[in-house]
Symmetry: C2
Subunit: 241 residues, 2 copies
């Protein structure tokens, strides 16, 4: 499985992805599921993905080749995040159209999802979720985040914390707690976690981090959250049954 | 959807079920999903269920008719909880065998799950999960709880709290927090909640409660938990990004 989340706040966008892939529980590997595209002062794009790894890798390679071949419309040339989402959706459709029938012969699922966010000069920051069918939706102030993969365990803390005026530090913490809860309950989501924090209107990506199992901050966060939840539980009123 | 949970601790077993059923979001109803069977001093059985409502109701009616017709082996006559689980599994198979093909004609899912727990004189208290296929598993000290229906949102708090030596009051609170989290994230799980608390070796059911949207305790629990989680979040160490 996979877990990816991206939360958009006034201060910027926080992206995070796990790196565990599995073809059965006896075949577990580590693959980065985050890709960044940057031209300082012009655009920052961050893409995270879930689903069939061959399909997501093929889709991203297709998009990178378009950039290298300077195709008229590519991720580094288009003028809006809407077009970026269109390009990813089209590339995904192309790859699924090409590989899908071969996978279907062996009942292999070829679905994949992408979240893409960032900012292109002249536009505000924007965040999109691209479905397996290649169509997409954009985040709005009412629901300023997207999740893909194993979404349920980590959703409650995001729901509680993320608002437009949440600080960057609180957004980072809610995303990492969300991962902590998900990894605790689903073994197929695992460290290391890749995180990218884009600060609005900077048009450059200054904060990219990787949290592995030796990471001191992640260990302190895990312990502090566990202690805090136990304390919250201990303070609950008793039921007179 | 549905959410049911049963947790077995040294002190007894706590069962709880929501009561929302839906045939599409435009057809929501309230049905009790908990059934109790009791003969004081001899046995207490509590059954909660999820899945196709016609199938679960038919299964329970079949079992009740067996009791009324004094069939040799019925829920009130057998000598062990193992046989109780067998009877429920067999009844479920019977009903699915009878109704399943008609539902399949219209692509209606006829699956259903049951949790049954309690105690029969001469045996310790026991807890079983009955799968849609009619086979079943028993809870053990390592995993002394079962959930059916929408299980993910409410699992973390049960995992954190329930141990063999957890008190009855803490077990009740963890179950109700588990429902609170689930109802917050999944609209198809809803109040009222039915709860039954069986105290080990009493062979009678003294504590059956219903929590509706006017319930003062449930409102206090909801507020206290929300405040506690926010406090736990506020105490997390900052990340220096």
């Amino acid at each position: 499985m996979t877990y990816c989340v991206a939360t958009m706040i006034d201060a910027g966008i926080v992206f995070a992805s796990d790196s565990r892939t599995n073809a059965g529980v006896d075949n577990i590997s580590t693959f980065r599921k985050m890709k960044t595209f940057e031209r300082k002062g012009d655009r920052v794009l961050v893409v995270v993905n879930s689903g069939n790894l061959a399909i997501t890798q093929a889709t991203l390679n297709y998009l990178e080749q378009e950039i290298r071949h300077s195709t008229e419309a590519n991720l580094m040339s288009v003028c809006s995040m809407y077009e970026v989402a269109e390009l990813i959706g089209s590339a995904l459709r192309e790859v699924r159209h090409r590989d899908g029938p071969y996978l279907a012969e062996n009942n292999v699922d070829c679905s994949a999802n992408f979240i893409v966010g960032g900012q292109i000069t002249g536009e505000p920051q924007r965040l999109f979720l691209i479905y397996a069918e290649g169509n997409f939706i954009e985040a709005t102030p009412e629901t300023p985040y997207f999740q893909i993969g194993e979404v349920k365990y980590g959703k409650p803390i995001i729901d509680r914390i993320i608002r437009a005026d949440t600080s960057m530090n609180d957004a980072i913490k809610s995303v990492l707690v969300s991962f902590d809860s998900t990894m605790r309950s689903n073994l197929s989501v695992g460290l290391p976690i890749d995180m990218a924090c884009y600060e609005r209107d900077t048009l450059q990506l200054n904060h990219v981090h990787r949290f592995d199992d030796q990471n001191d901050y992640m260990q302190r966060l895990h312990k502090s959250w566990g202690d805090g939840v136990r304390q919250a539980f201990a303070q609950l009123p008793n039921f007179d049954y």
